[in-house]
């Protein structure tokens, strides 16, 4: 039996029916990481002994005939910006190279209560700022499908680890597409829940009004299982919400389904094969009886600049805490020197660039022209979506305009790199939920590169868009 390509339910059945032990399962993953991750670099740290000890406990429970939960004994990995007590948490930054998490994020508490086995922490763009994982302070992750290409970002290590069968699923964070875009590039499933639906406590803050934790999984079914465990109000995150919406969708309702396709998303720079694969995918729903409706999101052209001003502004304040005084990289002779050297040398290029942009946008004389204006444009974008959702149940688009690009292809031009988030950022700006699900492959130089279909849902309709996305898998 191939232990490395099982869904959560299959693992659970296998454990309960004693087809394999949890130790065998966990070791299979750890050995695969040890053997193959050198060339992919999807992990920044692996905790072998801890994982093995936990798996033995699961086996003990099973041998005693005790009931185990669905997620019990499932080997997983976590983006290295979410705190797991006792494990290093670097955020992909030299400034936190030796930082050890003193507590668990709420989502980790929830997963560990279910008994998952955390194998280690996944690589990412430094402080989640990037779209290719090339901004990691510890070297890039490579796409397991083609090692010359990026896995996407910023949760590139997470998506690569799941695609390479190094873990059953991973948790990532999505500020402008950082779960969905790497999922699309690596051919896996990535969910960005509605803002506030999953507690951000224990997620290192990048842009607090946009950040959201979401699962990266091999199937939509696994995504649903993980999401329904990690969601919910948390007193430790005042922006988290109590929401009982359990709207779902059954395939026999497809005749009444209205799918919105934004005309503004047919833009220059979208790869023609990506467009055609996504069109075919939407056609599948139409053939099953869904109605396709062209919609307009007229402020789409402002989404990326709005996103960069707001996220950089929030980042410049959130990252002020890394000052060399209390923890992390610290260097300097006097106080001013300590701040300037610790931050100047501890942060990488892209992080410094965004702190600078944010500081500029918030500084006296520019605040109204940049930050305040961006907040207002954000409301215009929100209005576009509200209007569209009066007519349609779900919006579909490509997740990303291109398949995975080559390492180094966009590092010299930050604006080009930013454009890879064109279809995903609006979902963060408006707080909606979105999912990327594989919808086909395109052949480039005899390598089959996956393409993702993005489904955008109304607030709190994660379960509904997952149900609709699941049809794509069949």
């Amino acid at each position: 039996m191939d232990l490395l390509n099982l869904t959560i339910k299959k693992i659970h059945q296998g454990l309960v029916n004693k087809e394999f032990s949890d130790l065998e399962l966990t070791k299979a993953y750890l050995d695969k990481i040890e053997k193959e991750d050198k060339k992919i670099h999807s992990f920044l740290s692996v905790y072998r002994d801890r994982a093995i000890a936990k798996s033995k406990k699961v086996d003990e429970k099973i041998s005693k005939g005790e009931k185990i939960s669905l997620l019990e004994g499932v080997p997983v990995s976590i983006k290295d910006i979410i705190l797991v007590k006792g494990m290093k948490c670097t955020a992909g930054s030299k400034i936190l190279e030796n930082y050890i998490a003193p507590y668990n994020a709420t989502c980790i508490n929830k997963l560990e209560k279910e008994g998952v086995i955390i194998l280690g922490k996944n690589n990412l763009d430094e402080f989640a700022m990037g779209s290719s994982t090339e901004n990691s302070g510890f070297g890039p992750t490579k796409n397991p499908i083609d090692l010359n290409r990026v896995p996407g970002g910023s949760s590139g290590g997470s998506a690569a680890a799941v695609a390479a069968n190094f873990s059953v699923f991973s948790l990532g964070s999505d500020t402008g597409g950082s779960v969905r875009q790497p999922a699309s590039f690596c051919g896996v499933v990535g969910l960005k829940p509605t803002y506030g639906r999953v507690s951000r406590y224990g997620l290192m803050a990048y842009s607090s009004s946009l950040d959201q934790i979401g699962p990266i999984t091999k199937t939509v079914e696994d995504s649903r299982i993980v999401f329904n465990i990690i969601k919910g109000k948390d007193v430790l995150d005042s922006t988290s919400v109590d929401e009982e919406n359990t709207n779902s969708f059954h395939s026999d309702q497809i005749k009444g389904l209205v799918i919105g396709v934004p005309k503004e998303y047919i833009v220059e720079g979208v790869d023609s094969e990506v467009s055609s694969l996504v069109e075919q995918a939407i056609k599948k729903y139409e053939d099953m009886g869904a109605k396709i409706e062209e919609i307009s999101l007229p402020h789409t052209k402002y989404a990326i600049p709005t996103y960069y001003i707001i996220s950089a502004s929030e980042a410049s304040t959130n990252l002020a805490r890394y000052d060399g005084v209390k923890y992390g990289f610290s260097k300097g002779d006097n106080l001013k020197d300590l701040y300037f050297k610790s931050r100047g040398e501890g942060f990488g290029k892209e992080v410094r660039r965004r702190i600078m942009l944010g500081t500029y946008a918030l500084s006296s004389g520019y605040y109204d022209a940049y930050y305040l204006r961006a907040q207002k444009v954000r409301m215009l974008i929100e209005k576009d979506f509200k209007k569209a959702f009066k007519k349609v149940d779900v919006i579909m688009s490509p997740t990303c305009p291109t398949p995975a690009f080559k390492l180094g292809e966009k590092t010299q031009d930050p604006v080009q790199m930013y454009l890879s988030d064109i279809f995903t950022v609006s979902v963060n700006l408006t707080g909606l939920c979105g999912i990327s699900v594989p919808c086909g492959n395109m052949e480039v130089n005899s390598v089959k590169l996956p393409v993702g279909l993005q489904l955008i849902g109304k607030p709190f309709e994660e379960n509904k868009i997952m149900d609709i996305a699941e049809i794509m898998e069949k």
Binding site: T239, P305, I309, R353, I355, T359, R373, K376
Partner: protein
């Protein structure tokens, strides 16, 4: 193109120590990003102006209460201080 002395001023505000070379490369990148975000000036925000307020928003506060932590947790946190003296965080002189 944004002037170098302005880049230096922003870096000072942000407490970032940048070398001359880094300042120059920042100047170049920064200018292309600013050109790009310039498009926002074209957005018609007149419909938002009148209802842009904190309407519908409220603060969520908690008690500023002391939380007990175990000695282990305390030691772990203190262990991450760059410098300590008698179990206190040691900082550089500020005056």
């Amino acid at each position: 193109m944004i002037e170098k002395k302005e880049i230096k001023h922003i870096a000072d505000l942000a407490h970032l120590g940048l070398t001359e070379k880094e300042l120059e490369s920042m100047q170049k990148n920064f200018s292309s990003i600013l050109d790009y975000i310039e498009i926002l000036k074209k957005a018609d925000i007149s419909s938002i102006e009148k209802d842009f307020s904190k309407k519908g928003m409220n603060n969520i506060l908690r008690k500023d209460a002391q939380k007990e932590i175990s000695k282990n947790e305390r030691d772990e946190l203190i262990g991450m201080f760059p410098e300590t003296k008698n179990n206190y965080l040691k900082t550089k002189k500020i005056l």
